[in-house]
């Protein structure tokens, strides 16, 4: 009876697939309705184009740089916001240096301007992490390590965690409205707590223990063995930890194995974070 699989009262698989197709069917239905009910033959001011695959060539090779002031004509708020952002601090001035401001990440924007906006004619880093990898070379390789967040697989994007236009591209500094772990807790809510017994290391940030872009270790840990915990939990009379002698336990395996400190993110019941 106790071997799992007890949450089968609702068939979530069917519900989710049903919801998916409902959205898709609604989309097509609404699309058809709108396409044929609006009979006006006026010229559209938004000639949006998505390049077909055979024509999906590098935008940057066809387009020219236009400068952030041009972007500001339509994206005034974003351009202003960007001036305060972390990324703006590396915008190099100079008449001969055209790659500044918005176009550092979005690429040359002349096609986008000529088309009065739209998609497919300018780089969207939200959909293409290569825009970020152009500078953050190391992250491209970290995402290829065996345990990683699925950015290259297209299931996440860099902007899910980072705020490239925002005042802090890493919105977990000492002066951000967001908490240090808020970007992580957006998905990992089970680790958020609050717990009755907290692990103080969490306050310092998930990156204290996790290498969040990619790692060679499961769960993207910085170190896989007890050294991870012993960085903080150490004292001069080691293998004593507190007043407990751990000499018999440490050689057997990790601190959070064998039913010991299994609730490393926090526990509601145990002061030593055991379950």
């Amino acid at each position: 009876m106790r071997n799992g699989g007890r949450f089968g009262r609702l068939d979530w698989g069917k519900i989710k697939v049903g919801a998916f197709f409902l959205v898709l069917a609604l989309s097509f239905g609404l699309y058809g309705r709108l396409a044929f009910s609006e009979g006006a033959a006026s010229e559209s001011s938004l000639p949006k184009k998505t390049p077909p695959p055979a024509e999906k060539v590098s935008i940057s090779k066809k387009a020219e740089y236009v400068g952030s002031e041009t972007c500001g004509a339509c994206h005034e708020r974003e351009v202003k916001e960007f001036q305060r952002s972390t990324h703006a601090r590396i915008s190099v001035p100079g008449d001969n240096f055209k790659v500044q401001g918005c176009e550092m990440c979005h690429g040359p924007a002349s096609l986008h301007v000529a088309a009065s906006g739209g998609k497919g004619n300018i780089i969207n880093p939200r959909k293409d992490p290569n825009a970020c990898f152009a500078c953050h070379l190391d992250k491209k390789m970290e995402f290829r390590l065996p345990y990683h967040h699925p950015v290259l697989e297209g299931k996440m994007s860099c902007t899910d965690c980072h705020s490239p236009h925002g005042e802090d591209v890493r919105p977990w500094s000492a002066t951000t409205l967001q908490d240090v772990n808020e970007a992580c807790f957006r998905c990992h809510k089970e680790q958020r707590g609050p717990f009755v017994w907290e692990h103080e290391a969490i306050r310092e940030g998930c990156t204290t223990c996790h290498k969040v872009h990619g790692s060679i270790h499961e769960k993207m840990l910085i170190a896989r063995d007890n050294n991870l915990c012993l960085r903080c939990h150490t004292q001069m009379n080691f293998p004593m930890i507190g007043k407990q002698n751990h000499s018999g336990r440490l050689p057997q395996g990790g601190c959070f194995s064998a039913g010991c400190h299994t609730a490393v993110h926090g526990s509601n019941f145990d002061d030593h974070l055991r379950y």
Partner: protein, 698 residues
Amino acid sequence: MCFFLRLVIIGVLVAGLCEYSSAVVYAEESKTGDPSLFIEGAPVQQSMVEGDSGKFRAQHWIKDNFAGGLEDSSIEYPLPDSTSLSMSGHALIDEGDLAGKFSLKKEKLGYLDIDYSQFRKYYDNVGGVYRRFTTLRFNELDKDLSLDIGHLAIEAGLTLEKLPHLTFLYERQFEEGTKSRLSWTPVKEGSVTRNIGPSWQEIHEVVDTFSIKADHSIAGVNLNGEQRWEIWHAKTEREERNLSTTTTASDKKIRVQDQKPEADLMTTTLKAERWFWQDKVSTSTGYRFAHMTNHEVESIFELNENRVPTNFSNPKQVRDAAAHNIYDSHTWVGSSMFTPWRSFAVIPKFKAEILRRQSDSARPKDTTPVSTGGSPPDGIIDTTDVSNNDDRLTRWGEGVSLRFAGIPHTAIYNDLEFEQVRNWLSEDLQSIAGQSASDTNEVFSREVINYLSKRVWTLGGNFAPWYFLNQTVHLRIRQDDIKYNNIRFTDPGATTARSVFINNQNVGINEVSARTSLRLTQWLQPAFRYQFQESDYYAQGIPDSSIREKSRSLSNIYTFDLILQPRPDLTMMASYSRQTAFTTTPASNSSSTQIPNFNANVGTWLFELGYAPRPELVLTSTLLYSRADNFNDFTNIGLPLGADNARVDLTIGVKYSLNKHISIEPKYAFYHFNANPDAEFGNYNAHMIGLDVSIGWT
């Protein structure tokens, strides 16, 4: 089920295409704009795995055997009166990878976005390896592990001119499935125990979020407010099964943990921003209030190998434990930006925060009778652990950022950040007698005020003296000092746990990164990035708080990138990354319980190629080779867990455009993973063949 789904997909696609064709005709007649359609199907994807398919799935996020479906599709259609419609989606059913997005937007009126996405995360079902074992050297679960993760969001916005822009959002996030845990279980062979047995956790989690946002400008002040409610509830079940070659019943016990956590979170966020003096000065402020309550009910069952509840020595039998937490926070932030000269900017920032957490829990335990061979618990609560904790935290943060771009082709920045935290914490755990007397070993009390002082200094620049050279340098030094002012604590005896054992902790983190990019010619563009990070941890505690124990993590990462385009139709990229990293603690020098330094070294080569000899033909290929070499054989005194493996990924695709609108792309991939059998389990060779068909129309 899958057959049915495929039929539905084909039906939807056909219907979409029919409607699309009609729409194109309509659009051409009515001259409303250029609709576009793009469909990329992956009708065939077959992965054949020899070896550990679980590890293959976990590392590549790909299901073995057959998978296929619609890989990508999008349709965009401009309508009259500045209205646009777009839809996109994909459905790789066998991989549980589904997405659908619908967006309808009318300028100066509003928009409606509906977004559904789901993907599957796979987990390896093998625990660790201990090379000195012969029978239970590694162990595999009898189930495959995967977790479906997804969300449905419906967002509607009103963007009427001169009126506040309003956004309404409903979102449901979910997680459903079973994942692996690193809470590995004891495996015993003879008299030796190593914790290498796999464990898993079944998860059923739903989060419902409702949000209303308003955005408006009044007298040049941009105002922004959001009210958000989040309701989270989950059911989880974790199982840990001890394994053994012995006949002792307790060596094969099973521990099951059932949890039902719930949380309600309400946040109110207000922001204001204004720009002055020809946009040379800006100031912004924000406030957020968060109120959260959460509850959890938990039971732990210890079972014998036949899954009968059994008390062995030191039993863990918890029945309907309940916990409550209330959390409130008020956060204020403010920042300004002064640009007295075009090339110089100052950005001061501050933050003030007050947090309060009140927590209590009760954990009833049924721990008798106990016998060596195991006895069923009698169903009567023996003792109850009662916790009452209170936490009040105030936090101040200050920062100033200076940016100077007065030197041609140079941008320099210097950031300073400070944080001061005062955290008053009162924790009390008591044992209440039931059938048995209260357990004095569980008594824990502590009242502490800890002070954290954090300083971060960042200095960096971006230099582009010539168009072909770009150099960035970034230095970051961080120092955290935590002092524990212990007011009250238990010190029950010589051997039992003491609640306080750290008096001071200091953490120093030094980071350096540098990147050099060269654009020597159009066809040769090398880049190099170096990163160094050193984290030093110092702890002072019992028995002699005058002595600081030092631990250290250090990493160097070197990354080379070379882009070659010798011909207009040929692009090649080669990347190499080498990470050398280690963590060392005082345990490495321990005479009685030595734990050597932990190494995390890895080198990765990546080659990418794109070749388009003819406009209708594109050849793409990637080759990755990665080697981690970290096995340190101290199995006689411990459990080495360093990664030690080699990996090869090869992908080849040939894309051929049959005409302007349709292209096909047969693909082949080979994945190889070879682990040192003394360090980890899970070799595989996988071949994947697939075919993509793309249809694009504008």
